[in-house]
Symmetry: C3
Subunit: 211 residues, 3 copies
Amino acid sequence: LRRKVTSDHLLLLVDLLGTFLFAVEGGMTAAHHHLDLLGVMVLAFVTALGGGIVRDLLLGQTPPASMRNWRYPLTAFGGGFAVICFYRYVAELPGLPLLTLDAAGLGLFAVAGSAKALEFRINPLIAVLLGGLTGVGGGTIRDLLLAQVPGILRSDIYAAAALLGAAVVVAGILSRRFKPAYWMFAGWLVCFLLRMISLHQHWNLPVVATR
Amino acid sequence: LRRKVTSDHLLLLVDLLGTFLFAVEGGMTAAHHHLDLLGVMVLAFVTALGGGIVRDLLLGQTPPASMRNWRYPLTAFGGGFAVICFYRYVAELPGLPLLTLDAAGLGLFAVAGSAKALEFRINPLIAVLLGGLTGVGGGTIRDLLLAQVPGILRSDIYAAAALLGAAVVVAGILSRRFKPAYWMFAGWLVCFLLRMISLHQHWNLPVVATR
Amino acid sequence: LRRKVTSDHLLLLVDLLGTFLFAVEGGMTAAHHHLDLLGVMVLAFVTALGGGIVRDLLLGQTPPASMRNWRYPLTAFGGGFAVICFYRYVAELPGLPLLTLDAAGLGLFAVAGSAKALEFRINPLIAVLLGGLTGVGGGTIRDLLLAQVPGILRSDIYAAAALLGAAVVVAGILSRRFKPAYWMFAGWLVCFLLRMISLHQHWNLPVVATR
């Protein structure tokens, strides 16, 4: 029943790149919270693969892709290992490079997640939501494990960028114009740019008026 | 392997009504916590659909019903949108109407959840537990996202009402007397009344004696 | 597609024993936190069965084993009931017996979880991770419900012991030497001893250097 949307190689490459970026970010968060080596590996794994695992569970694809292809866990652990080796150097970087990597990873996951959801012939609204979930799910689980309110719920244009990028992919691929790969690049660019500009301009979503 | 327990229309109607009530409640909670517009939508969605999604994952029905029928997400987002439009008015209401709506939604979900579990020929004890889970699951995920101990774990007759309502539905339908719809109404009434009376009388479950 | 790894009876026995031990521990935690009777039952259930349920969801075995065999929920509720009846006596025990029971339960679950994962012909790295998840998953969900950072993320040799025990089982069974039951006993012993010795010696995993 599945239909091919784009080449499996492209999806895998996009996914593994996002996995590595998010694993580094999850591992850095663990180190900031003074967790031990295993905690670094757990948060690297969960931040990198959590969103995709929840998406696959919801789509009924079990075991999830990241558990059937050893490249995923190995890439995630590689990101955690990189943090353990190079933590001192990365921690001294200013915030911008990390935020840029995170925005790039967010776009990669949103794009890969919505393209994969379309393969399951799911309704377009749900495909967009699953793209957003793939982007923000891992970070949300990481925040929950640290007993913090997930960043996506606090006011910031983060999930909104992922959802918009996913919407571009879904609308584009369903239009059947141009190759899916172009739409995936466009969706990634929209998500990445919106995220970076909103960081730079301190854009926030409005808050419901409270007395 | 599934067997029909009651009309699909009745189950859908009960489910969508509960979805709207819980979405409003989740959105109100988000507004109280000063979350942004996206946060209101996320909590409306999660509170309204989280319990049913977890139930469907456990039953192995993937994608979950709320992801295969666009009426569910649209109803949930409608509840969130209603909060964004009418927050000022709803927030000025005394607590009772909201608690009444919540008790009504709890009963609807407990009843729909246990009836659906029975369709999967699952053992009656598990069907009752899944009915309770459908009722309290969404609110529990909402509380977790807000980094709070879920309300159901603090002493209050909430989950107990959902479980009792679900038990009435399961016992009634398995007795094969009367139509399932009657038992669903009876289960809803038991859950709703027990919840409302316990609120009014400040009933609590006993606590294990601690030194 | 499944292959038998060891006798179903042995797996069931190991699982139920671990279930009871973890249910008692979850119920004790609930009582320590002054939760009500239902809270004791919920935490007993979640601590005992949560890890196995998540493992089964990831393996695509739905409904999870603990929902298809009434022995699991009944054993978990039995553990919760034991806490309600004997809380005063258990709470007066010194910490060591409880920590010993917990280490024994951890080993049982890690061993049963990795052996079950192997039945699904999953890659060995993932089988080890699923064994560890079965061991620490229930306690992690319990901690999340109490809005606490899960114990496994704080520095302690806990998850590491579960992973090592699971690795012994996976490597041993895949070597096809001796009976699987021997490897399961060896894996349990490794996990149990490592955990007990690390408690006694206050061993911790190293923390990534932070400025």
